[in-house]
Amino acid sequence: MSYLRGFYLLTITAAVLPLIFPDNYYVTVVGVTAALHAILAVSLNLLMGYAGQISLGHAGFFGIGAYASAILTTRYGWNPWPAILAGLGLTAVVAFTLARPILRLKGHYLAMATLGLGIIINIVLVQAGKFTGGPDGLGGIPSLSLFGWSVDSDLRWYIVIVSVLLVVVWLALNIINSRSGRALRALHGSEVAAEMMGINTTATKTGVFVLAALIASLAGSLFAYQQAFVSPDSFSFFFSIELVTMVVLGGMASTYGAIIGAIILTFLPELLVVFEDYEVMIFGAILMLMMIFLPQGLFVGLQHLLRRLTRDRRTAIDAAEAGESGRGAA
């Protein structure tokens, strides 16, 4: 399967990294956050990159998953696993109910509606202090354990979250290369044309919206167990924007692009810490410059650049050869 070639490469890289650097902060700590962000970015990319529906509220679903798990395990003594399922159930209900009216909107109105949805969820997390712990957050969340194998070290969390990432990537790649994936892309091109071809656009859009929300919710539950603490700050409007940035920065409509975007945006602040007070300013400047000069995103942009360079060299070689043969004839 040629479309899975990159996936195998990703799997091998992810497996080899902790073998070479088993206790490296950037692999097992920042790396885990990057993988978690990558799960979110890949799911958002299904919605934005392929179906062409912008969402500025993805962090809301991430938050629903995280808080469902956090509240059920700490306040009601649930086992972490059914708590994840409950989070997924709640997310499915919310996403499915709202998908239809929200996805009827287009362009800036859609952006505003999803943004509003994300902010409403965040405000509820802050205000419903009786359950959520309010702005101070909720701590003491138990960790996951799998048949007696307790996920209690950075390395073990790396294994769990990277495995989930790989499953999500595999799922995304298969969807994109399936009948429904082609329907999504047709929808992105032109909704009217897609409808003319017999695609049920409403059902397709609703489906991908709910799927993206479910993946985000799962990521949220994992985040809650991994951090053992959640607070509304992690699920704010800023984080939604950051997720959109990951998708666009890497290159829309490219699953690997979304992963690259997630890795860059996770590591960039870590690296910028050395600039101290200038950190925020430099981050904003980098964001602007990358979008101005590589509007298609890093992954796609660099691919084009590479192709142009190799093509230029080939034409140069062709020209040289033509010149030589011309001289030979003369």
């Binding site: 934005m48 912008i54 009216p101 929200i102 009827r104 909107l105 287009k106 362009g107 800036h108 109105y109 952006a111 505003m112 509606a113 943004l115 509003g116 949805l117 902010i119 409403i120 405000i123 509820v124 802050v126 205000q127 032109s190 909704e191 009217v192 044309a193 409007f237 924007i241 959109v244 940035t245 666009v248 920065l249 829309m252 007070d277 200038y278 950190e279 925020v280 300013m281 430099i282 981050f283 904003g284 400047a285 980098i286 964001l287 602007m288 979008m291 101005i292 509007p295």
Partner: protein, 292 residues
């Protein structure tokens, strides 16, 4: 009860007037260049912070400091157009959104560097003696905000309908190529549009700063509210944006007073969502048909 509601309405109109100015800035830039400028809120913050810095730091009288700050923010707005928006012309909507978000983070970063995380206050323009209207009270600064916003909105209306430059900006938003063909200097009109937006934003910031105080991140929420107001009124319709701003301010103030102050922002957004669900093009927006 009536007095209480009157009080909420007065507060709501004041807040709404600020939202209206920010929303108007969104609408002007969107009309001129199809860009949603997420750094609109930063114009507001820079206007207020700049005035305070010029008056407190350099000892200028407040009015002169305010003029300097407004001029500075206009330059920032024009620079944004020239160096960030113009080079990315033809990029997708999402890309331009991220460019302006990058710009807003950048401007916030600059403000953080210059002034830190402190919260700053500004003296009221004409005293703090409350004015009684029945049982409700009003500060003179509230009148400044309402009056200032009215003058600015009328000014914008006059500019677009009765001046050559204003009409030229409108022409660019209708059809850029056609505008160029009749001899309009499109890139200059873009600068005017961004400058005008920055002017509105910074003045809104200066007018409201004595009441709400300001800090380096004060622009974030105002920017979001302004965008919401512009969408509520029907995006791209300047007078719809003003109406949307006033309406959003009123809703929030009444919700805060009558229902719950913690949920006031949520209620504002819920009503916005409901409006969009039933009228997807905003209250005063034209229904758009998709072109195939």
């Amino acid at each position: 009860m009536f007095d209480q509601i009157l009080q909420f309405v007065l507060t709501g109109v004041t807040v709404g007037a600020t939202y209206a100015l920010v929303a108007l800035g969104f609408a002007i830039i969107y009309n001129a260049s199809d860009v949603v400028n997420f750094s609109q809120g930063e114009f507001v913050m820079l206007g207020a912070m700049g005035s305070i810095a010029f008056s407190a730091g350099n000892g200028l009288p407040l009015w002169l400091a305010a003029i300097c700050a407004v001029l500075l923010v206009i330059c920032v707005g024009m620079a944004l157009q020239r160096f960030a928006i113009a080079p990315a012309r033809g990029a997708s909507v999402v890309t331009t959104i991220i460019i302006t978000i990058g710009a807003s983070i950048f401007l916030r970063g600059v403000a953080l560097l210059l002034w830190g995380k402190d919260i700053f206050g500004m003296p009221h323009f004409s005293g703090e003696e409350p004015i009684k209207i029945g049982e409700a009270t009003l500060l003179p600064q509230n009148l400044w905000v309402m009056g200032g916003a009215s003058v600015l909105v009328l000014g914008v209306h006059y500019f677009f309908n009765h001046t050559t430059n204003g009409k030229a900006v409108l022409a660019c938003s209708c059809n850029r190529t056609a505008a160029q063909l009749v001899g309009i200097n499109v890139s200059r009109m873009m600068l005017i549009a961004y400058g005008l937006s920055a002017l509105l934003g910074s003045l809104a910031g200066i007018l409201v700063a004595p009441i709400t105080f300001t800090s380096y991140d004060a622009g974030v929420m105002l920017g979001l509210k302004g965008f919401s107001a512009a969408i509520l009124g029907g995006f791209g319709n300047p007078m719809g944006a003003v109406a949307g701003g006033l309406l959003l301010g009123l809703i929030e103030s009444l919700a805060a007073g009558l229902i719950s102050s913690g949920y006031k922002d949520a209620i504002g957004f819920v009503i916005l969502l409901l409006v969009l669900f039933f009228k997807p093009s905003g209250l005063f927006g034209k229904a758009s048909a998709e072109r195939v």
